[in-house]
Symmetry: C2
Subunit: 303 residues, 2 copies
């Protein structure tokens, strides 16, 4: 079962020919999510073969241009290519007005339902939930309202051990109860422990996205024990003053958050354009949290 994160843009505010601003494609068991959508994201999606028309939902963290200015163009392309599939859009309340006004001035009516769900200031929200996957949002600490996101697989069911079930002649009607963890009790009162009939389930995986944000320990409960944490690291430690002024994080701060949250792996990104490569950023982070990697456009993380 796939759980992958594709970096579509690893840079910050100023796009360059080497690095696009923020966007990520997240595929969880063939649910197709787009996390942020900077200018140029639709081209990055083509470049890295993301199935544009199959996107189920787009999440916009905040309304700085380097996180959302590619959205209008993406919606327009979906429309022009004949999309009919509904699209869920989660973002700051004003995003809806920005889109509606631009559709209005272009006298365009999208050919597919765009279902907008506003993010609520200072609140955590359960945004998306289906049988296998859920997405939650939580507030970050930035110059304007901004949210982080956590993508979880829901707990998997226990796995039935076929030969045991046959040997003990367990009725079919019991299978659902077994995968839910119940012990078996036969009609004549004999008990067989669930563990003797089933295997432990596959472990559920999780991913969290935190960009843009100042260092903020209050987010830790929301990203606890994720397999992969993306945390912005706009600056190296030497520019910590600039980081604080602009409500961004340094590499060390990102690593400290990963450590405290008990994340398995940290990916840093959103590097200031002053860094021609992320070596300084990632090396600094590794001093605090060794399992750190640098985001690069096109890089895919398979959880």
């Amino acid at each position: 079962l796939r759980f992958s994160v594709t970096i579509l843009g690893s840079g910050s505010a100023i796009p360059t020919l080497r690095r696009n601003p923020s966007a990520q494609y997240i595929n969880i068991q063939e649910r197709h999510f787009l996390m942020d959508c900077a200018e140029g994201t639709q081209l990055q999606m083509r470049r890295y073969e993301v199935p544009l028309q199959q996107l189920n939902a787009v999440f916009i963290s905040h309304l700085h241009g380097d996180h959302y200015l590619g959205l209008m163009g993406l919606l327009s392309t979906m429309h022009l290519l004949g999309r009919r599939l509904p699209l869920q859009l989660y973002g700051p309340p004003e995003l809806k007005e920005v889109i509606d006004f631009q559709l209005h001035v272009g006298r365009t009516t999208l050919g597919f339902p765009l279902n907008f769900i506003p993010l609520i200031k200072d609140e955590t929200q359960d945004l998306y939930s289906d049988k296998m996957v859920e997405v939650k949002s939580f507030p970050l600490k930035h110059r304007i309202p901004c949210w982080g996101f956590r993508f979880n697989e829901k707990p998997f069911k226990r796995k039935i051990i076929k030969e045991k079930v046959i040997r003990h002649k367990i009725p079919v009607a019991w299978m659902k109860r077994l995968i839910d963890g119940e012990d078996y009790i036969s009609e004549d009162g004999k008990l067989i422990a669930n563990k003797a009939l089933t295997e432990d389930p596959k472990r559920s995986r999780s991913y969290a996205y935190c960009s843009d944000t100042a260092y903020d320990e209050s987010i830790i409960p929301n990203i606890r024990a994720v397999d992969l944490l993306y945390h912005e690291a706009t600056f190296a430690e030497v520019l910590i003053k600039r980081a604080h002024q602009t409500f961004h994080s340094t590499a060390k701060e990102a690593a400290s958050i990963a450590l405290q949250a008990g994340a398995t792996k940290l990916v840093v990104g959103h590097y200031s354009a002053r860094y021609r490569n992320p070596d300084e950023i990632v090396n600094e982070a590794r001093q605090v949290f060794s399992n750190t990697v640098a985001a690069e456009d096109g890089l895919i993380f398979n959880l």
Copy 2:
């Protein structure tokens, strides 16, 4: 003296990895103009080494996304890179609201003056004028209000022939009158014809941009005798019905306009994404107007 047009985007609504949507950089005697600004234009400017921070004016033809969605990102990058130089912006009235609202939601105040001049529906306007260069707009015929633009060099002055002026001992005070074309009359009443003292001036050059538009002969007076005409040719003739429905032109129609206007050269562009290369479009146009070339991203026309 430079008069060049750099194609930054030759495609239409849907950006592809081979072709960006509409944008052009026009340099007339070191006045730096941007004509339309699709998503991705700022990267195209980097790719083709256009001096982003020296832009004097941006012209937006209409409010379909493939002609303006790159503007917010461009303004943001100018701001972040510390621009102080004022920028003139000419576009449909609602463009101002689109920009202001997006600046508002991002709580951003541009660090440079953005002087907005609205285009007036159904009217021709004198937009820009300095000592050497002028820009005029005129209405096109599209699904929403849309304008074409004409960039002219103003008439050059006559050139003084040094040796003649010395031989005839013409006083310095007369020089300005000579370059303006006046005959010389000496204090004792002797006349020397201007043509004997000056050379004909350098010819003034002109460029017109017409995108997007249905076939519309009424634009011809506005683009008469230009050296270079850019006219959209979204479709080949076989799709003329689709062209009419969508208020676009076919290649033959674009060529017919160039012919009737007495243009020297025609460049076609804004090809529908269905054309993998513009051969069919440009060959069709050449049947009507032989001096036709195909727009390609990065192509520079020196007038």
